[in-house]
Symmetry: C2
Subunit: 308 residues, 2 copies
C-alpha cells in the first residue's frame, strides 16, 4: 500500500493507493501556514488514514507528495512556490522523518499527469500530455511511462508557450502565452468582453441569473443557441486548438488529455475541439494523436503522488 498526498493552496488531500492503483481510503485537511505545519498536518492525515485501514505508516511502500511550485525531485525539495510561500523547503525529507517511510516529491501538475496516465485516460497509451484548463493552463508530459520534466526538472510548462506574440499579458511576464487564452481566466476575459458589447444577449441574462461570470457562462449560452455565447466559445476553442496542435507537432504524444474546470464541458468541448486541432496539424501518416478528456479529476494527483 502506498500513500499519495496532493498539496494544494487550500487543502491537503491524501489517499491510500493499492496495487491496482485504486484509492482505498481518502481524506483531506485545510492547508495550514508554513512548511513545518504542512508536513505535520500531512503526516497526521496519513496516520489517520493508515489507522482506518489498520496498517502502520512505516509499512507503507512509499509516501509521495505533489506540490505546487518548482521542485528539485532528486533533492526532494520545493525550490520555491509563490502559492505556499516556500523557499527551498526539504518537504520529502520532512515527510520521511514524520512517517518513517521514504518520502518523494513532484510538481503537482506532473504528478497528476502521472496518475492520469497510469490509472485514467492514458491507460491504453504509450505516451501522454495532460493539459489542465483551470485558473492557469498547467500540464504534465509522460514519456516512457515517466514524467518528462527536462534536465532541470522545470520542463512541461505547456501553458507558457507564446501563441500570440505581443498578445494578452500572462502571469509569467510574457505576452500572448497559451495560458492567457486557454485558461478559465482567459475564457472569462473573452466572455466579459463579449458581454460588454452584447448586454442584451442570452449570455448576459445567464450571467445575471447566476450573479457572476464564470468559465461556464459562455458554454451555457452557446448550448442554448445564443449567438454571443457561440462566438465566445468559437474563439476560445480556436485558441485552445492552436496550442494543442503546437504540442502535437512537437511531441506527437499518443494521447493528449484535457483536465481541469473547463474540461467539465465534456464531450461538447472535445467533439468541437477535435476537427479544429485536426485542421492545424502538420501532416503525419495514419497514426494520429488521440484527444481525450481526463477521467480521474482530483484523484489523479493522489494516485500520481503514490506512484512517485
Amino acid at each position: 500500500m502506498r500513500i499519495g498526498i496532493d498539496l494544494g493552496g487550500t487543502n491537503i488531500a491524501a489517499g491510500l493507493v493499492d496495487d491496482s492503483l485504486s484509492i482505498t481510503v481518502r481524506g483531506s485537511v485545510p492547508t495550514p501556514q508554513g512548511a513545518d505545519a504542512i508536513a505535520r498536518d500531512a503526516a497526521a492525515l496519513v496516520r489517520s488514514l493508515c489507522e482506518q485501514e489498520g496498517i502502520r505508516p512505516e509499512d507503507l511502500t512509499s509516501a509521495g507528495i505533489g506540490s505546487p511550485g518548482a521542485i528539485d525531485t532528486s533533492a526532494g525539495t520545493v525550490i520555491y512556490s509563490n502559492n505556499l510561500a516556500f523557499d527551498n523547503v526539504p518537504l520529502a525529507g520532512m515527510l520521511s522523518e514524520a512517517l518513517g517511510v521514504t518520502g518523494r516529491i513532484g510538481n503537482d501538475a506532473n504528478v497528476a499527469a502521472l496518475g492520469e496516465f497510469h490509472a485514467g485516460a492514458g491507460k491504453a497509451f504509450s505516451s501522454m500530455i495532460l493539459v489542465t484548463l483551470g485558473t492557469g493552463v498547467g500540464g504534465g508530459i509522460i514519456l516512457g511511462g515517466a514524467i518528462y520534466d527536462g534536465f532541470n526538472g522545470m520542463g512541461g510548462e505547456v501553458g507558457h508557450m507564446v501563441i500570440q506574440k505581443g498578445g494578452v499579458p500572462c502571469t509569467c511576464g510574457r505576452k500572448g502565452c497559451w495560458e492567457a487564452y486557454a485558461s478559465a481566466t482567459g475564457l472569462i476575459r473573452l466572455t466579459k468582453a463579449a458581454l460588454e458589447k452584447n448586454p442584451n444577449s442570452r449570455m448576459a441574462a445567464i450571467a445575471e441569473e447566476r450573479g457572476k461570470v464564470s468559465g461556464r457562462t459562455a458554454f451555457l449560452a452557446a448550448r442554448q443557441g445564443d449567438e454571443t455565447g457561440e462566438a465566445v466559445v468559437t474563439e476560445y476553442l480556436s485558441y485552445l486548438a492552436s496550442g494543442a496542435a503546437n504540442l502535437i507537432n512537437l511531441f506527437q504524444p499518443e494521447v493528449l488529455c484535457f483536465g481541469g474546470g473547463v474540461s467539465h464541458e465534456g464531450p461538447y468541448l472535445i467533439d468541437r475541439l477535435k476537427p479544429l486541432v485536426g485542421a492545424e496539424l502538420y501532416p503525419v501518416g495514419e497514426k494520429k494523436t488521440a484527444l481525450r478528456l481526463a477521467e480521474l479529476g482530483n484523484d489523479a494527483g493522489i494516485i500520481g503522488a503514490a506512484m512517485l
Copy 2:
C-alpha cells in the same frame, strides 16, 4: 567503421565514420530522379568510399541514411517526401540489399541533431534541441542520447509551432508558425518589406551591390550600423527568441543549438539572442538551458546517419 549518407534534394553526401565519430573519407554525387536510381547511386558512392579506405562494404558495422520527409524508422521506409517525390519507399531495405549490410533510415533533421549531439555542440550535454534556420525551420530533439520523435516518428516539428496566431501563412497550411518568421525565408520577407519602405538606406545599397536580397542582407547592414538593417535584425531576433523560449519552457533541454544558413551570423547572432530568450523564460532555478551555435555544419547529417 560505419557509413553515413545524407540524402538531399540536390546531392547525396556520404562519409565513412570511425569509432571516434570522425569522418575519415567523404564524397558526394548529384541526386538522381527516382528511388531506385537514388539507392543505386548511393550504394555506388559507398562502395567507392570503401575502396578508398581499403575495406569491403559488407564489413561496415552499419549503413545509415538521413532522408527528407516522413519516415517510418522501424519499417525502414520513407512514408512520403514532397522533395524527392517518394511515396512509401523502403529505402533502408534497398540499401541493405545493395550493400550487404543492415541499412537504417531516419529523418534528415533528426539525424543531423543526433550527429550534432554526439560529435558537435551537444557533446558536453545530456539533452539537446537543434534548430536549423534555413529555407524552413527544422529541428531535432535528442533526449536520453537518442532521437525523440514521438509515438509515430513524426515529432520534433519545431518550426510548425504557431507563435503568431492568424499571422503569416506557413508552407504547412497554418498561419503564424515559427518557421514563417525565423527561417531565412522569413528573414528575407522582413528585409524586403523594410527595403520597400527605406529605398535610400545602407541596406538598400547593400542589396543593390550584391544584386539580390538574401538572409545576410539585413545582418550585413546592421553590422555596419544601418538603422533599417538594425530594425530588421531586431524584429527577426525577437521572433527567433519567442520560439526558442517556447521550446525551453516545454522541454528544458540542457542545450539549444542553432544551425543552418542564418546561424552563420555566428556569435553576433547568438550573443544578441541570449538576453532576448532569457527575458522570456519561465523562471527556473540556477540550471538554465545553454544556447550554442551548431558546430558540424553538413557533417552532422553524415555522422548522425552513421549512428542510426
